[in-house]
Symmetry: C2
Subunit: 134 residues, 2 copies
């Protein structure tokens, strides 16, 4: 059911410092920052040969990662995103096993313009899992 690891998202407290670290020290290809006001984040893509790292920085007062960064002041890995072919089939299969889908359970349009769902970390080894239909 799950396909590629689409990305690993890392919440960062200082976006410029993180960009410099990935670009200048680690030598990775790093995108320009993109504001995603609908999602309350500014995103920078670190493009690796096989997947990407998304650096997330809070945008606006109601950013969903603001609380995370208050608890994790150095930053931290926020979630992993797995690709699926059919997000509704995936959701229904997961729900049938007792896994909780966050929010109202319906896919939303994510930061890449594709349907996404988030699964409750307590049901997935303490890991916030995003499913993205590709």
């Amino acid at each position: 059911m799950i396909g590629r690891l689409n990305h690993v998202a890392i919440a960062v407290p200082d976006l410029e410092a993180s960009i410099a670290q990935y670009r200048d020290v680690l030598g990775a290809k790093v995108s320009e920052p993109q504001d995603e006001p609908d999602h309350g984040v500014t995103v920078v893509f670190v493009e690796l040969p096989n997947t990407k790292i998304e650096l997330l920085y809070p945008l606006g007062e109601n950013s969903p990662i603001k609380g995370f960064l208050e608890k994790n002041t150095s930053g931290g890995i926020h979630h992993v995103c797995y690709e699926v072919d059919d997000i509704l089939a995936a959701r229904d299969k997961l729900k049938a096993t007792g896994a909780r889908v966050l929010g109202d359970g319906d896919p939303k349009i994510g930061a890449h313009g594709k349907p996404v769902l988030f699964l409750h970390p307590k049901d997935f080894n303490g890991t916030l899992v995003e499913l993205e239909q590709v």
Copy 2:
């Protein structure tokens, strides 16, 4: 300098349950558990098309992930591993920018039989980063 994302390691409190979840619910290809006594972990590889997830479970009394699971009782993402061509060159470049290498600073042979280093999470957005020479 950094290449592929080699793996994302997730520490899990119940290895059998995590295997069943990735294999039976998410439909991923999952390896047999492998004991790595030199590293104090039992490892299960979840093979995705572009990278892998490593499920880590403590092995022995001095397992390096025992404390992590005491703090994160549901489990959690433990580290990410980036591939590098030349681990000594990578280390020296990182150290020159003030990044701290864990342990004595010399590469060790990791769980895949290749030289690895770990970087201090406080210097990398709260993320424990493993570098593996491939």
